[in-house]
């Protein structure tokens, strides 16, 4: 974590905005997002439904589809803006450089093709490699995600459980040795035990290949176990980024603090748990000033009138007028 700060980011997101043009008007799902992804790290992007985390993920690989469109900004990978790549270069960039595992990825498999054929197909679409070699690699990867290759390779998708399909997709995404893996709610549809194993597997994969991971989730509890760094999104904006321990023990933004205080836990005292008041805003009718002010106990006049700018601290960023006060309020509860 600490040594990464000296490293050059592998992905730079600069001022990225994504808009959706709908009947009711134009909605900005991702609003001027600025974010660096460091090599080898597991960056978690946490946000509730409608926060824009999935749209940001699609934006990173230029996969935003109509009625959505990139409204501005850049995603820079290896000194190139992803939005300027030719269709062929973009095709190579996806899977080979940046692979994706999306939420309902289990359903993305071809139902009438055996797993082995889907594996071969995916690779041969990008590289000219013999079938035997691909299957050898697929076998290794399936073992890594704790599946039995002999059984799984010959199976059709419907013969596998949801948890098994999700792991097959994970193996599939690693076939081309990507440098970055994007995971959008990869465990959301899974049972608790399966989810825990999948998170373990992710940590294994990272330890083995040193692959960079961007993990989008609504569940801040999962993040505590797997992430190195956390970015918190609210209503299309990034409100805080920081090292995982800083985020949990010394949150600087009232929303982050609220999310942690509102997460039920199996351990510890429950008496200091408090709900976040109100509801997430309607993106068509955003509050003036800071988008969180209607739910925030720290809010003052300036929050109602002026959007906070992002303050960069040592390895930490926060967009709040009163972050110092929020940080100060942590001392009693933090370790």
């Amino acid at each position: 974590m600490a040594q990464n700060t000296a490293n050059e980011p592998i992905l730079r997101i600069r001022d990225l905005s994504v808009e959706f043009t709908l009947r009711q008007g134009t909605l900005r799902a991702v609003d001027h997002v600025h974010l660096d992804v460091l090599p080898g790290e597991l960056l978690a992007i946490v946000g509730e439904s409608g926060s824009g985390k999935s749209t940001l993920g699609y934006g990173l690989v230029n996969l935003v589809s109509s009625p959505g469109q990139i409204a501005g900004g850049q995603v820079i990978y290896k000194n190139q803006n992803v939005f300027d790549l030719s269709p062929e270069a973009l095709r190579q960039f996806r899977w080979k450089e940046v692979a994706m595992v999306f939420q309902a990825a289990q359903n993305a498999m071809n139902p009438v093709m055996r797993i082995e054929d889907q594996m071969v197909d995916t690779v041969q679409d990008h590289e000219n490699r013999p079938r035997a070699e691909i299957l050898k690699r697929a076998t290794e990867l399936l073992k890594l995600v704790r599946l039995q290759p002999e059984q799984v390779l010959k199976a059709y998708p419907h013969e596998l459980s949801g948890g098994m399909r999700q792991r097959v997709i994970m193996a599939l995404s690693l076939l081309l040795n990507p440098r970055v893996l994007l995971l959008d709610e990869p465990t959301t549809a899974l049972d608790v035990v399966t989810q825990a194993y999948l998170l373990d597997i992710l940590l294994d994969i990272r330890a083995k290949f040193g692959i960079t991971m961007v993990f989008m989730t609504h569940d801040i509890s999962i993040v505590a176990k797997v992430a190195d760094r956390v970015a918190v999104m609210y209503a299309g904006q990034i409100v805080e980024t920081g090292d995982v321990n800083e985020i949990f023990y010394r949150p600087h933004h009232p929303y982050t603090q609220g999310l942690i205080q509102a997460a039920p836990s199996l351990v510890g005292d429950l008496s200091d748990k408090r709900p976040v008041p109100g509801s997430p805003p309607d993106l068509f009718h955003l509050p003036t000033g800071c988008r969180f002010h209607t739910r925030c106990s720290y809010a003052t006049d300036i929050c109602r009138s002026t959007q906070p700018t992002t303050t960069a601290l040592d390895g930490h960023t926060v967009a709040c007028h009163h972050w110092e006060q929020v940080l100060g309020s942590n001392t009693e509860g933090s370790r």
Binding site: R146, A196, K225, K273, P275
Partner: protein, 334 residues
């Protein structure tokens, strides 16, 4: 003597599936017995396919068990007179996961909430239905009610809609609400507020809750002083007071489940070890393993586990565990 509000006596529920020429049976719930006292909270916990929803529907009288009895205040609900059944139906309400599906999209909140009031004649003389509906909306903290009465479900957030569904359940003055995953489709920042609301309904109005969930952390939060029953593949594997069951889990499945629950604290989360299971895959509920249904995945399984079905037996301290090796299973740190 206190009579339980609801009791399940040896309830099994078998579903038939497949086509007429390839019929097979799935036993979703197998010989489950449980009691709920008036005013209590019971958390019914398990992963998908464990039968928790089927039990909820049996309690609410939506499924008729293929074996065993469901007793409401000591009487078999399927042998009640028409009038008694009507009372039972009013007093036991079901709230489920999807609040959007539970509300008629073409009716306003007022229309949805006034219907049961008028149906059961529950509007007191001298008040209008609109005033009474407004009072229920205030109870679920949708204030001021005038802002919500004439809205349609799609104009509300998920958390607000689930409050409307709870308010609608309250309008018929229920004794028990079967809440099946009521917060799992609600945004995380709003879940705690809904759980607090249910806890308040229990405390202030004496409404019992059967809280059905896969999420042990919310079960602990809501049912802290109540009871918990843990299900696996249709069977109850451990049951008892929440505090004790979660602090000293005895059944290896519950130990594995608890060790898999994410903890929102990086230092604690990284220091916890998962109980390693022999298999990751949940067996097909249509063809459950013989003996103890957990034995193919259980790290402690012995010969007896694959031949004999364990029954729930009382342990010291009031919890009951269905495991042949319960005295010898090592404690698992939570």
């Amino acid at each position: 003597m206190n009579q339980p509000l609801i009791s399940l006596r040896d309830v099994s529920m078998t579903f038939r599936k497949g086509s007429p020429w390839r019929r097979s049976e799935v036993r979703a719930v197998d010989h489950v017995t449980l009691d709920m006292d008036e005013g209590s909270i019971l958390a019914l916990v398990g992963e998908s396919g464990c039968g928790k929803t089927t039990i909820g529907k049996a309690i609410a009288g939506l499924y008729r068990p293929t074996q065993g009895q469901v007793l409401y205040r000591g009487k078999d609900i399927w042998k009640l007179s028409k009038a008694e059944f009507r009372t039972y139906r009013r007093e036991v309400q079901l709230v489920h996961q999807d609040s959007f599906a539970a509300l008629n999209p073409s009716l306003t909140i007022y229309q949805s909430l006034s219907a049961p009031l008028l149906q059961y004649g529950l509007v007191p003389a001298g008040k209008t239905a609109r005033t009474v509906v407004g009072e229920y909306l205030e109870m679920v903290e949708l204030t001021p009610p005038d802002q919500f009465l004439d809205k349609y479900p799609h104009q509300l957030s998920g958390g607000q809609r689930q409050r409307v569904v709870l308010a609608r359940a309250l309008t018929v003055r229920p004794k028990l609400i079967v809440a099946d995953e009521p917060v799992s489709m609600v945004d995380v920042s709003l879940r705690l507020a809904l759980l607090n609301l249910m806890a308040r309904m229990n405390k202030e109005m004496g409404v019992s809750f059967a809280y059905i969930t896969h999420d042990l952390a919310t079960a602990r939060y809501l049912a802290g002083q109540g009871q918990i029953s843990v299900m696996y593949l249709g069977e109850m594997v451990e049951t008892g007071p929440v505090g004790q069951v979660l602090a000293t889990p005895r059944h290896p499945y519950l130990q594995a489940l608890l060790s898999a629950v994410p903890v929102p604290d990086p230092i604690v989360a990284r220091s916890r070890k998962m109980l390693a299971l022999r298999s990751l895959e949940m067996p097909d509920p249509g063809a459950p393993p013989a003996g103890c249904r957990f034995h193919p995945r259980c790290p402690y399984a012995e010969a007896v586990c694959s031949s004999k079905v364990p029954t729930l037996e009382a342990m010291e301290g009031g919890d009951r565990v269905a495991c042949h090796l319960k005295e010898r299973i090592p404690a698992w740190p939570v």
